[in-house]
Amino acid sequence: MSLSKDDVRKIAYLARIRVPEERLEPLAGELNNIVGWVEQLQEVDTNGVEPMTSVVDIETPMRDDVVTDGGVTEKVLANAPDRNDAFFGVPKVVE
């Protein structure tokens, strides 16, 4: 499996990272090196092995289903790059 320039463009869009056109080719090379290197896992026999979901075998504690938070609009908005009243401002999404 080898990533092409177009693959990198597609992944970069999935990750919402703008990669300049001239960086796509070198980046494909870098990513291919890494992907080629992790390919060695394919030689490990994992038939019937459960994928790890938790590193420590404990039961997750449950808490009462009650409201524990809220009413902190100012805190939530404190770092907003663009705020309108009690809302986050974003570029227009509906024409």
Binding site: A15, L41, Q42, T46, P51, M52, V55, N79, A80
Partner: protein
């Protein structure tokens, strides 16, 4: 002089009234200012430090000492959210982020009375092994020989924290460890670095990198200090669903320096082709020390060790790509304007993330994408199960494992920078324990031919920190440290 202080010595001197927290803190604030060429701090907080020091002295005068950390000046890795104090994760995207809440670990340390001197530099989002990916510039290892052509790296990602402690700017510091980010820099700077069992320290309020691996821990000058500091950092936290709902043992009491009858495993797969002789020699010396102190050493096998790094470089980027999806230019952090919402996201993240972070987010997005998820991510999580099983089998036979911490001493800035995989190999000995969630510690074991420190690593089973501290305190004594 600030570099002679340990937490234990400071606690003792404070108790005897030989020094006040304000005096101790002022001396360290001056050291932080004098040590700015190390670039160890992203944000200095001298006002907060003086305020907390005065409050500590007042508590002491009233007979209400909170803990052995009370009044002790420490440095905080800039990955822990601190209320009202800028928290950057060393990233442009969080350059001006000021949290409105305090992380559980930094809050625990504050409540224990410790004095925060500032927020330390790190690799961007804790992704790196040399502290060269920070948006705020690289950190200089304080052990760089005078007149050297290039600065030595302090290791990473907790590079600012180790530089601060090794340089005498702080008595101790917090670190976080995802694949070795506490232990490897500790090795590079001649310090003790300890990663507890996954879940001992709450991840709440710690800027997330790879959630199933991230774990906080102490960076200190001695094993005893690591035990004292971990006691204040750790503990169950309902705000982190992976936090361990268990009482903490008395870590300091476990530092008995007694390993008589202990069984120490030497994993044969940790011998690497092309490993420097001095690393092998130090490891052999460690084995000898353990035997001389009455421990029994046996060779053990961890057959999947060589797959740990490639497993890590699937799991960690996958989790990072999910975690870092939150940086959208809308709710906090940098925004670069665009004509559409999508364009705004892309421009913000393209400019806000550095090269290594982008590389890892892209790898993560790729291994999680449709058609590749099973081949990469599920496969890696299966191999991870096998790696954890190897450790379980070993710990049926032995109490603790002894290995080198890193495959080399600190290297010069500029080395290993062209090839990401060469940089990743720094963590070859630390990543396996991270994948299995096990507690592990690096202690200074000796020096290379150039006089640079080399670390030895000890690993124990899940929640066996007491055994870890027992073994580490003994090994430290054998290596001539811990005074």
């Amino acid at each position: 002089m600030t570099d002679q202080w340990t937490i234990a010595k400071a606690a003792d001197a404070l108790e005897k009234g030989e020094v006040s927290s304000v005096e101790l803190t002022d001396a360290h604030i001056a050291a932080v200012e004098a040590g700015r060429s190390l670039n160890a701090f992203i944000t200095e907080t001298p006002e907060i430090a003086r305020e907390r020091a005065a409050a500590s002295d007042a508590r002491r005068a009233a007979g209400n000492v909170a803990s052995p950390m009370d009044g002790v000046p420490i440095a905080m890795k800039d990955l822990f959210c601190t209320e009202g104090v800028r928290t950057t994760a060393a990233s442009h995207i969080l350059e001006n982020f000021v949290p409105t809440y305090e992380s559980t670990v930094s809050g625990n340390l504050r409540d224990a009375g410790s004095v925060m001197l500032g927020k330390t530099n790190l690799d961007e989002f804790a992704m790196g092994s040399a502290n060269i990916t920070s948006y705020f510039g690289s950190v200089k290892n304080p052990l760089t020989p005078e007149g050297a052509n290039a600065d030595l790296v302090p290791g990473g990602s907790s590079g600012g924290s180790v530089a601060a402690v090794a340089g005498g700017l702080a008595i101790a510091a917090t670190g976080t460890d995802t694949g070795g980010s506490i232990r490897q820099p500790a090795s590079f700077c001649g310090l003790v670095g300890m990663k507890p069992t996954y879940g001992r320290c709450s991840r709440w309020g710690v800027v997330a990198f790879a959630s199933s691996l991230d774990q906080a821990g102490p960076l200190t000058k001695t094993v005893e200090d690591a035990a004292i500091m971990l006691q204040s950092m750790a503990g169950y936290d309902a705000k982190d669903s992976t936090s361990l709902p268990m009482e903490l043992p008395d870590f300091r009491a476990a530092c008995t320096r007694d390993v008589k009858g202990m069984k120490v495993g030497i994993p044969k797969e940790y011998t690497l082709d092309g490993m420097p002789d001095e690393i092998q020699k130090l490891w052999d010396q460690g084995v000898q020390w353990m035997q001389d102190m009455g421990a029994e050493t046996v060779e053990v096998s961890l057959p999947h060790t060589k797959y740990a790094l490639p497993t890590y470089y699937i799991v960690a980027p996958a989790e990072a790509s999910s975690n870092l999806a939150r940086y959208d230019g809308v709710r906090y952090g940098l925004r670069v304007p665009g004509d559409s919402l999508d364009e705004m996201y892309e421009l913000t993240r393209g400019e806000g993330f550095g090269e290594e972070v982008q590389r890892r987010v892209l790898i993560g997005a790729y291994v999680l994408s449709a058609g590749y998820y099973d081949a990469y991510y599920v496969k890696a999580q299966q191999v991870r199960t096998l790696i954890a099983r190897d450790f379980e089998n070993a710990f049926n036979e032995v109490d603790v494992l002894l290995t080198p911490t890193a495959p080399s001493a600190a290297f010069a800035k500029g080395e290993k920078m062209d090839d990401p995989i060469a940089m990743y190999l720094n963590d070859v000995f630390t990543v396996p324990a991270s994948l299995a969630g096990l507690p592990a510690i690096s202690i200074p074991g000796g020096y290379d031919a150039g006089g640079l420190p080399l670390g030895l690593q000890l690993i124990t089973g899940v929640c066996q920190e007491e055994t870890l501290f027992r073994a580490a305190s003994a090994l430290e004594m054998a290596a001539g440290g811990g005074q």
